[in-house]
């Protein structure tokens, strides 16, 4: 199955919305049913294609949030207000039974193998948590002992996607750490600053066996270069940039 997920021709398939779950004020999880879905690996994404009545098409990538073994596929989409695609997927109009096209899973680089030895550092900015959550969920489902630390940067506590689940999964070698860059709730004891070399040096004093960094492009650039500056071997750092596409 793992092999099948990266092999073969890509075809567009119809995805049916089975459920929509709000995560934060701006992000929603879409539970999808896709006939013939070949299975995926944690960290992979799919391409979504929307077609309007006049035939105009828009295509975007969305990471798969669910663990590989779950039979239902979950995406989590954060709404970008002036966007073309995300306001539809994460907006108020999408309903159970709605359909759109997807192809995938795609990507063989930004993937975590649960049989890989060594500790893992996950660094997320905003919706960059989505592919990392697939890894966290797979780790939990397989009761993997791999020591895993997550540093998740969000604007505020209310912007933290999967907040309750992350807190529930803490322990047994999984340590979620949060940094809230704009506002913090009263009595907040977590971090409250941008992800930079000093913060990463505290969170990962020694280079982990594998590091995955995901989020908006400027966030990924800053975090990855800070890690390299801290003498983490570049070949152990994998990055995925969500955009924006300009610049």
């Amino acid at each position: 199955m793992a092999g099948a997920a990266v092999l073969g021709r890509l075809t567009w398939r119809v995805a049916t919305v089975l459920d929509v779950r709000p995560e934060t004020a701006r992000a929603k999880t879409l539970v999808l049913g896709v006939d013939g879905w070949p299975g995926h690996r944690a960290g992979q994404h799919l391409d979504v294609r929307l077609t309007s009545e006049d035939g105009y098409q828009a295509q975007r990538s969305y990471s798969i949030a669910s663990a590989p073994r779950q039979d239902r596929l979950e995406l989590t989409v954060e709404r970008i207000d002036d966007g073309e695609v995300s306001p539809y997927l994460a907006g108020d109009d999408l309903r159970e039974g709605d359909r759109f096209e997807v192809r995938g899973p795609v990507g063989g680089y930004f993937v975590w193998r649960s049989d890989a030895a060594g500790d893992v550092l996950l660094v997320a900015g905003g919706s960059g948590i989505v592919p990392l959550m697939a890894m966290v969920r797979q780790r939990a489902e397989e009761t993997s002992p791999v020591p895993t630390r997550l540093l998740y940067s969000a604007r505020s506590w209310d912007d933290v996607i999967y907040r309750d689940e992350l807190e529930r999964l803490a322990g047994a070698g999984f340590e979620p750490l949060f940094t809230l860059t704009r506002s913090q709730p009263a009595g907040w004891t977590g971090y409250a600053r941008r992800v930079d070399a000093s913060l990463l040096g505290e969170v990962a004093p020694t280079p982990p066996a594998a590091t995955f960094v995901c989020g908006p492009t400027p966030f990924v650039e800053a975090a990855a270069s800070a890690l390299v500056g801290l003498r983490h071997p570049p070949e152990r750092i994998k990055t995925e940039r969500f955009g924006p596409t300009g610049g």
Partner: protein, 82 residues
């Protein structure tokens, strides 16, 4: 700016298999990187650039039912054989 992950689907159309985990050698500076890690710019077409020297590694343009691929900047591509 994006990276090679963002065009995994497009490149799978071109090569028939995933190449984001494959490593490419830059023809200009000989740096070796996973295709998933190289820089990607999206405009009328897709341009992949070397993250070390900025040279164009690959360009892909779609028109109607054709894909046009320029691989001049890539000295070699190494895939894991399955």
């Amino acid at each position: 700016m994006l990276d090679g992950n963002a065009v995994a689907g497009l490149l799978q159309e071109v090569f028939g298999t995933d190449v984001t985990a494959a490593t490419g050698t830059c023809a200009s500076c000989t740096a070796v990187d996973a295709v998933g890690a190289v820089h990607v710019y999206v405009a009328a077409g897709v341009v992949l650039r070397c993250p070390h020297c900025g040279s164009v590694l690959m360009r892909v343009v779609r028109s109607d039912k054709r894909l046009w691929v320029d691989l001049r900047g890539l000295r070699s591509l190494q895939l894991e054989s399955i």
